[in-house]
């Protein structure tokens, strides 16, 4: 098996300068990233339920079977612990498995393999055995999906040392972050906001660039208040930011975390030191969600800058209701604006 040395890769910043681009939505960018990496590195393979013949229930793996054959694009039996467990085994033999779990809500049967093994193999073997595996799962609500199909429990994975957790919010980031995740020597849980899958298109460079893991990005600069968010919530947050700028003259900075574990504490803190006020927006239930970690970290590091309580705009602490009520459950621009205004007027 041949592999490509990492120094051939470039970051998104580099690649955007001058290289070719194509217009893609997020799910196309995921597919494109898989295609790119499978073409570059024979060890990369895709496995999961309905990923091969059917091209994935969201079409994220469409065409891969035709391009790379049924040894590298594999439909598995319906068993998530089997999928992740075999992917761990594959990774330990130096394959680069990219396992798909059909929805984040069906990751729970694989929870034990993820937290008891994938996360710890490097540490327990003192660096001898490693799990360079990616577990992809569509994630989050807002598409009127059936019960259990709208989970966004990123905090479960963030709490487990040894896992990395990545959530893209745009097509270009999806591609760059997925490539970086595949090349990462550690296990990455890669959560794809399905509300964004087909929401919009943007130019995505066609070369094999990496968007580095562990780096948050500032989506909108502002001075009055920082909103920290990720995934699908980036978009209502940007709308809310525009609205409160127009209506209230509030200048909002929006930070898209992109990597949830390890956290980019530096970027989080830098922004807060500028604005002194913060809102965290996430879909998951508020209690013990990642918003808590962000609020706790910021007050720990920057209390003297803090001018108002850090507000969390999050899912309520209830199971995601059936679709008639999902607009009420999920944070919308409405609730984000309200959170921003409260925080600024404190």
């Amino acid at each position: 098996m041949s592999s490509t040395s990492p120094d051939e890769s470039r970051t998104a910043g580099d690649s955007q300068a001058g290289s070719a681009a194509e217009t893609m939505n997020l799910v196309e960018a995921v597919r494109h990233a898989l295609h790119t990496e499978m073409g570059r590195d024979e060890r990369v393979m895709v496995l999961g339920e309905d990923v091969a013949e059917n091209g994935g229930v969201f079409r994220a793996t469409e065409g891969l079977l035709e391009s790379f054959g049924d040894e590298r694009v594999v439909d598995t039996p319906l068993a998530e612990s089997g999928i992740v467990g075999t992917a761990i085994g594959l990774a330990m033999t130096d394959m680069r498995p990219v396992a798909e779990l059909q929805f984040m809500g069906f990751a729970y049967p694989a929870f034990d393999q993820l937290v008891s093994h994938a996360a710890r193999m490097r540490s327990r073997s003192h660096g001898q055995y490693t799990v360079p595996m990616v577990v992809r799962a569509p994630y989050g609500g807002g598409i009127r999906a059936p019960e259990h199909h709208s989970e966004s429990k990123e905090a479960f994975f963030v709490h487990e040392p040894g896992l990395k957790v990545v959530v893209p919010s745009t097509p270009a980031d999806a591609k760059g972050l997925l490539i970086a995740s595949i090349r990462d020597p550690d296990p990455v849980v890669f959560l794809e906001p399905k509300l964004v899958y087909r929401a919009f298109r943007e130019d995505v460079p066609t070369d094999a660039y990496e968007t580095p893991l562990g780096e948050a990005t500032v989506k909108r600069e502002g001075t009055d208040v920082t909103v920290y968010t990720w995934g699908a919530m980036v978009h209502p947050t940007l709308i809310a930011a525009d609205n409160v700028a127009d209506e209230d003259g509030i200048d909002v900075e929006v930070v898209d975390l992109r990597t949830l574990s390890p956290l980019d504490v530096e970027t989080l803190v830098d922004s807060f030191e500028k604005t002194g006020r913060a809102v965290v927006v996430h879909e998951a239930p508020k209690t013990a969600g990642l918003g808590a970690e962000i609020a706790a970290t910021i007050q720990e590091e920057t209390l003297l800058h803090q001018e108002a309580p850090i507000t969390r705009v999050a899912g309520y602490d209830v199971p995601m209701p059936l679709h008639e009520l999902e607009d009420y459950y999920l944070p919308q621009a409405l609730r984000i604006q309200e959170g921003i205004r409260e925080t600024v007027s404190f």
Partner: protein
């Protein structure tokens, strides 16, 4: 077991069940097989079963069209599988419990759920999974195979409570047999010898994954050997055979012979004619004409032929049935589409008592709705 040909399929010399050809009572044309014995069902019951199968097929058509019109969410059709669903429903006694997946609409209906209640989750109503009073059906299970250990637990509970006359029937698909929960649930059922019947609706596909790729075992029924329980294969497009086999399994669950274990794994061999759900396009993974062989054994046609041959059905009755079905369906759709939910009900029944933090969250939602109105919540991502 009450069907005559069952004995033929399980000679005493073979220690392991479930490796044989599926049990049948009706041939593909609806004629009773020479070595088969008809189950004890009255003429009225036989006609009612036919009507229910027909209702199920019509329900499917209406639901698919409602989904196309955006009036309901993703729907999992059952065409081709209604026979097995209706028959297992008929085999149940009122006090028995049914644990369905997202696809067993007809089994639920036969076991007492009204049509409107079937539609409620599809309309996304908050209380979509509330089951009408005194109907012994569990809300559908979407996480695959998770119902299997729960079915074992329910059967165990009934047994501990001395309800000797109650059994639990648990549905799942061929794909579900790959999950750990299938294994753990059946193993517990064997060890604790609980009054449960497990019905695998082997419709040959788990979304795009064919049965042969799901497991290397020749049949699903033979997996029963791993749990020391009986495995039976039955023609899932033969409602009378499914009825007979399920009935016998339920009897055994309640009243096993000496040394016989209560649980049974039934593999009902069938085919999903249509898409996995309305969100699925089967042409991506299978040939359209694959269904043809199966359609030759269609449960609705077989039952129609059987009844007509036996003078139990004629054109007049057929027309009457059609009329009744359409009226029922239209009424159910109308009633459920009129329903709406108060958004704050999402806070109801999270716990027995609402904790303070949830009280606050509910109040916050209420005040936002008052301040901005409900439309503000439905503004879409631009």
């Amino acid at each position: 077991m009450s069907t005559q040909n069952e004995a033929d399929h399980h000679p005493d010399s073979a220690p392991v069940h479930g490796t044989t050809d599926p049990i049948q009572i009706l041939d593909a044309d609806g004629a009773v097989l020479s070595n088969a014995e008809l189950p004890e069902l009255s003429d009225d019951d036989l006609v009612a079963m036919y009507e229910d199968i027909k209702l199920a097929r019509r329900f499917d058509q209406r639901a698919i069209s409602l989904q196309r019109q955006g009036r309901i969410a993703t729907y999992a059709p059952m065409t081709g599988q209604e026979g097995a669903q209706v028959a297992t429903g008929y085999a149940l006694a009122t006090q028995d419990w049914l644990l369905p997946t997202y696809r067993e609409h007809a089994a639920k209906y036969v076991h007492g759920m009204d049509l409107a209640s079937l539609l409620k989750p599809l309309c996304g109503l908050r209380e979509g999974y509330a089951i009408p009073d005194d109907v012994h059906v569990m809300p559908e299970y979407i996480p695959i195979a998770t119902q299997v250990p729960q079915a074992t637990g329910m059967a165990w509970g009934k047994q501990l409570q001395g309800e000797a006359d109650t059994a639990v029937l648990c549905h799942f698909g061929d794909g579900a047999t790959s999950e750990g929960d299938f294994h753990e649930g059946l193993n517990f059922a064997g060890v604790f010898d609980v009054p449960a019947v497990f019905v695998c609706n082997n419709n040959q596909w788990a979304i795009s994954v064919p049965r042969e790729h799901q497991t290397a075992s020749e049949t699903i029924a033979q997996k029963a050997a791993a749990y020391g329980i009986e495995g039976v294969r039955v023609d899932g497009l033969d409602p009378l055979a499914v009825y007979a086999v399920t009935r016998a399994a339920l009897q055994k669950a309640k009243n096993p012979a000496d040394g016989e274990r209560r649980p049974t794994l039934i593999e009902a061999v069938q085919y999903r004619y249509g898409a996995h759900t309305t969100a699925d396009d089967p042409s991506a993974y299978r040939e359209e004409d694959e269904a043809e062989d199966w359609r030759q054994k269609d449960p609705l046609d077989r039952m129609r032929n059987f009844l007509t041959n036996n003078g139990l059905l004629d054109d007049d009755l057929e027309a009457e049935i059609d009329e009744r079905i359409d009226a029922q369906l239209s009424e159910a759709i109308e009633s459920v589409e009129a329903a709406t939910t108060d958004p704050t009900t999402m806070f109801d029944h999270v716990y027995d008592e609402l904790p303070p933090r949830l009280r606050e969250q509910r109040a916050e939602l209420e005040s936002l709705r008052e301040k901005y109105g409900d439309e503000a919540f439905h503004e879409v991502l631009e």
